[in-house]
């Protein structure tokens, strides 16, 4: 059930949180008053993803601002939805960096599916930087009404 959706990289995330805390402590002591402040956000799972369930399907929404259609791919592999893509570093040429929070980089997110889906009927759309993947449940995963007979 829901536990099936637990992400694979929980351990990494915990490590990251610790690192982030350590970073917060150390930051004020940074000896270099670097004019180019590069402040990349900690590596929380990217893209952030929400999963909804309806009667007939699962709907996965991922925030991928800055990505165009060619930058992201969606596939169903075994029992998981895999979202791959890359947010390119877009420092315009000849510009100085004052602040950098929008981390670039390639990503792969593998989300285990809690029930069988009809892989051929999966559809995905990208709108205003939000990827929406609709995964219709396989027939055997749909709720079935069981007739109760009078004995």
């Amino acid at each position: 059930m829901l536990t099936g959706w637990k992400d694979f990289d929980d351990t990494l995330r915990t490590l990251d949180r610790l690192q982030r805390r350590a970073g917060l402590v150390l930051e004020p002591f940074e000896p270099f008053g670097s004019r180019e402040r590069v402040r990349l956000r900690a590596r929380a799972p990217w893209p952030a993803t929400n999963v909804f369930e309806t009667k007939e399907s699962f709907v996965v929404k991922a925030e991928v601002p800055g990505l165009a259609e060619g930058d992201v791919s969606v596939s169903v592999e075994e029992d998981a939805l895999v979202i791959r893509g890359e947010r390119k570093a877009v420092v315009p040429e000849g510009y100085r960096i004052h602040l950098r929070e929008r981390a670039p980089g390639a990503f792969t997110r593998k989300l285990p599916l809690p029930a069988r889906v009809d892989a051929d009927a999966v559809s995905a759309t990208l709108s205003h930087g939000v990827l929406t993947v609709t995964l219709p449940k396989a027939r055997e995963a749909l709720p079935r009404q069981i007739a109760v007979k009078v004995g």
């Binding site: 829901l2 959706w5 956000r41 799972p45 952030a48 993803t49 929400n50 999963v51 909804f52 369930e53 309806t54 699962f58 709907v59 925030e63 991928v64 601002p65 800055g66 990505l67 165009a68 877009v90 420092v91 315009p92 000849g94 510009y95 100085r96 960096i97 004052h98 602040l99 950098r100 929070e101 929008r102 981390a103 989300l111 809690p114 990208l126 205003h128 930087g129 939000v130």
Partner: protein
């Protein structure tokens, strides 16, 4: 790219209190000789959901997401809140010429430098005889 209209006012009226839940967007700030460039992540916000206000030396960005009408989430890593950010506009920016556009869930705001603030190129000539 879609153009965004921004509102200008020079009054001293305080910004209207914001009652919806909002988060700060991730932001990049770049600069060259001609302009400052702000790039903000505003995923899920359509073009008409973006409001930019210039008041004195403050630029306020408000990006409203349409209200979600989803079934309960199995997993929720992000809240579909609005985005709000304020920036102090440095001296030497031509605030009347600030322009913005949206693309793929990002907002790009261009703040052109006033002509006087642009670095002048000084030609260094050798003194005759050197």
């Amino acid at each position: 790219m879609n153009e965004v209209t921004s509102t200008h006012s020079n009054g001293t009226a305080p910004a209207k209190a914001y009652h919806r839940r909002a988060a700060a967007p991730s932001v990049d700030v770049f600069e060259n000789a001609d302009e400052l460039l702000i790039v903000a992540d505003v995923p899920g916000v359509p073009n008409d959901g973006i409001d930019l206000q210039v008041q004195n030396d403050t630029l306020t960005l408000t990006a409203r997401r349409p209200q979600p009408s989803e079934s309960p989430a199995l997993v929720r890593e992000y809240e579909e809140t609005d985005f709000v950010a304020t920036f102090r506009i440095p001296a030497g920016i031509d605030t009347a010429a600030i322009a913005a556009e949206t693309k793929n869930g990002t907002l790009v705001v261009r703040l052109p430098k006033a002509a006087a603030a642009k670095a002048r190129k000084i030609v260094v000539r050798p003194r005759s005889g050197d």
